[in-house]
Symmetry: none
Subunit: 553 residues, 2 copies
């Protein structure tokens, strides 16, 4: 199934989800979550994030605001062109109602929503009289027409429409009827869901539950909830709204969002599935939560919160003290649920892969059968644990993990693994004189029985090093010819030590000629960013050469 189904009749859209349409898990990590200070996703990041969210099994992925943000417009275009392959999730475009005094079909921003080819549109509307009058500066009646017209236009064009009622709860306190009239204008025009937004995040559960229940009773509309975390209650408010009758929850991964953030998708899912017993995810997806949470943190370039509910690496770790011995005997007395249910671990979580079963599964993915080799599995688990404790992360570096597996497997079989090349030394110099900055790298390597020395320049130290290394290897390893470095990420680990911290580098590479996957990622870790990069670069090239070359050259 492709992402976009622009001309689908609405009845068909309603049946696309394998869980049916009874409950909507609506993710807005890529739209509202991107409002968090410091987050700037590339289009490639967005495609990777949407894929992860789809793997988790969310029903709806709000991808951005086409027409308002050029990068979002590009994301929808590339998604529609087939770059984003979704399983069961549906892609949603966000936008606002038409401008005052303009016909919906003439409003460029509304047209951009159609042009995005997203099958579903979330329209944001003002539902607080003060915002209509003081921020939008139009009349209450014109705002209602803006809502009705825009919904009707999009529905006529085959789109399913959800309405985000901005500042709904503040507005309800000020003038409870007006918000309901906005909702009515949308539903009358064909909107499916009225989403009550606590935009300023000032609500708490008992009060919010009461309002949602009242609105449900007065309107009978299908209600959704969107909470900000300014009182530290976004997750609780979301759950309270469901308990009051809402059947559509808008969340962001890890609670990313403006100010104090949004309702955290993972806590909300854990609470809905485990605590309320609502099957809002496809069966057996809950254990994906930890992996998806951490991978999305990686994409946002934010260190995962170890103490995050359900998915934090410390969410089930006990500091001995009071209960140590009792925990050993009876762990279920001391955890609110079995950590495995959400893909977590009671001990300090090293990684998702640290378990024997995951290593075996992962090996199978690479075509390596470890079923009869328990000692190899143990060795790999130990190595991964030790390395992750030192800052490595294999969650996003499959190629480095595959190399590690291959090495351990060869060692177990008594095969000698010969590296395709070895380093004698490198030197990188970065110089600035006046405003001119120059980088130069020299490598001395042994390859194909020869000692090769090459020097290259680059627009940065890593680029220079990469060029010098490729130049040194080119004659002996022509298979590296098509290999290209396509992404490079740097993460400084351990927040409070400044430049003394450990640096983790992830390098993504691609090749049409490589032996393995067409794209792969490798990792390096060191206090020195240049050395960490070197490690990842070397892994990338060794991986590109494939296992045959690796053990025969």
């Amino acid at each position: 199934m492709t992402t976009t189904a622009p001309a689908s009749p609405r009845s068909e859209l309603l049946q696309l989800s394998p869980l049916g349409d009874a409950f909507h898990v609506f993710d807005t990590t890529l739209r509202d979550g991107a409002q968090r200070e410091g987050i700037t996703y590339s289009v490639a990041d967005k495609i990777a994030a949407a894929t992860l969210l789809d793997e988790l099994g969310v029903g709806f992925i709000e991808g951005g605001w086409p027409g308002a943000m050029p990068k979002d417009t590009e994301f929808f275009a590339r998604a529609a062109a087939g770059e984003l392959k979704l399983g069961s999730a549906q892609l949603v475009a966000f936008g606002s109602t038409r401008k005052a005094g303009v016909r919906a079909q003439d409003d460029l921003q509304v047209r951009a929503l159609l042009d995005s080819r997203a099958p579903i549109v979330t329209l944001v509307a003002k539902s607080d009289v003060r915002h209509v009058e003081r921020a939008l500066r139009t009349t209450l009646e014109e705002n209602l027409r803006m809502v009705g017209d825009t919904v009707a236009f999009l529905v006529a064009e085959g789109r399913r429409v959800f309405l985000d009622c901005e500042h709904f709860f503040d507005g309800y306190r000020a003038d409870r009827d007006y918000g309901l009239r906005v909702a009515e204008a949308a539903v009358t025009a064909g909107a499916d869901v009225v989403v009550m937004c606590d935009t300023n995040g000032g609500m708490m559960p008992i009060g919010l539950h009461e309002v949602v229940a009242q609105v449900k009773e007065r309107t009978g509309f299908r209600l959704g909830i969107h909470c900000q975390d300014d009182t530290g209650c976004a997750v609780a408010n979301t759950i309270a709204a469901v308990q009051a009758g809402a059947t559509h929850v808008q969340c962001t991964a890890n609670g990313y969002g403006e100010r104090a953030g949004n309702a955290d998708l993972f806590a909300v899912l854990g609470n809905l599935v485990v605590k309320l017993g609502l099957p809002v995810l496809p069966p057996d997806r809950l254990p994906e939560m930890v992996r998806v949470s951490h991978a999305l943190a990686e994409l946002a370039n934010i260190a995962p919160d170890a103490h995050q509910a359900y998915v934090g690496s410390s969410a089930f770790s006990h500091k001995a003290g009071l209960h140590a011995s009792a925990i050993k005997v009876d762990p279920e007395l001391y955890n609110h649920l079995n950590p495995e249910v959400v893909g977590n671990d009671m001990h300090i979580l090293i990684t998702e892969m640290a378990g024997r079963a995951s290593v075996e599964l992962k090996a199978k993915e690479f075509g390596l059968d470890l079923a009869g080799l328990p000692e190899v599995v143990s060795k790999v688990v130990d190595t991964v644990k030790a390395r992750e404790a030192a800052g490595w992360s294999y969650e996003a570096a499959d190629a480095s993990f595959e190399l590690l597996l291959r090495d351990e497997l060869a060692a177990a079989r008594g095969e000698a693994v010969t590296a395709p090349f070895t380093l004698e030394s490198y030197r990188v110099i970065v110089e600035r004189a006046g405003n001119a900055v120059q980088s130069e790298a020299t490598v001395k390597v042994h390859v194909g029985g020869e000692r090769v020395i090459r020097t290259a320049e680059g627009n940065g130290p890593v680029n220079a090093l990469d060029s010098a290394l490729r130049s040194a290897l080119a004659d002996h390893l022509p298979a590296l010819d098509g290999v290209e470095l396509i992404d490079y990420k740097v993460r400084i680990l351990a927040g409070h030590a400044g430049t003394d911290s450990v640096t983790r580098v992830l390098v993504a590479s691609a090749s049409t000629k490589a032996a393995g996957a067409p794209e792969w990622t490798t990792v390096g870790v060191h206090t020195n960013v240049v050395e960490a990069s070197w490690q990842a670069l070397v892994d990338s090239l060794v991986y590109a050469l494939g296992p045959t070359v690796q053990s025969s050259s």
Copy 2:
């Protein structure tokens, strides 16, 4: 007033708080909060933390478990000896009921509670039948006697006693009467407060509210609440309990605690005072929240969470864009409360979409009035747009933005801005031979009329460069002495160009002596990570020197 009043009659204790005894803000940062992985307070840290909590105006400070933890025993001894001077807060010792089959007065751990000389004792008791039978391994009746005896003994010795009912909510689900019998045993023996603990943190507000209301109705006892954050609902649960009749809340600063942590004191206080209108702190203490929260994070050696409700440095940050002009006119439409109420600030993030309004607002934050200078605003907007298009990002780099504003303002006024130092050249060398990696940097700068050359080593190129630069400037700019690099972030921009991409570096610095804020962030952008880091380092030091030095040296 001293901390400890060992022989005070209980009636006197009840009147000690200036707010009376009607509502208890009970902090357990130093006891339950210290269960968080990685926290280890020294006794001096504990004294400093208790002083901060007292300044904030909490009523009760649980300092630890004397007799069980040697450091806690020492803390109470030094507090009683006069090292801890509290204003209105009272010190609380935590401990457990007597062991099975031992008289309370013969139980060493109970005696240690007396020896601590703390006027108040929180006793933890099992209130879940499964925990009594499977963890404590005694009979249900003996557990009741353990509670009653221990409370009676401590009360007879002049102590005020609160009872923590461990696993109360899980126990209530399993056998609702037993928890109530435990509470009754304590109250009959003279305990003042029955604290319902969600020890495993599995509750959510609607369900918890119902239980608290039932218990309140069935017993009439004074109830307290203690919540863990395993469902992400600890703050909301605490508030829901108060709404159901609890008048004693146990929290930890910044939500520190085992696993996912405890209910965050600051969010709970913000919600109680601002949202529920309960005067649970002495008047005008709420604006101390931000300072106390950050200082306690410092003592725990944990980076403050920028997105924490109420007190996070980004808790009132808006990525503006669409709403900037509306926010300028009407900030209260976009914040759930005036940030100054809790000692915080509204920040406008300068982003791609920022316009003139955001720049003016931001300048006002820095104490620069651009109201009469439209041409300066235009110049800054143009510069920001051009720079952000090239990869700069000012939303997390206020200090670099302030420098930019100052420069444009000085230029508009015809003032010459003299840099405090200028660079002639730098050279950074990273070498690896065998497995040894070395970094060395040389800088040539002009400062205070002199040309200074310095070379330094580091554990990475940026660290070496930073050291060389500081060494070169130290003699002429002693104000830089206290400046410390506290965080360093690297982001590679433009996802599909590999090491050729542009690198953005953010440097966070801190100083107790700096001219501006105590913490500030600067940005640098270049294809070369070393040069980008250099730019951010230079901005950081120039900012630390303040505007006076900048334009006069």
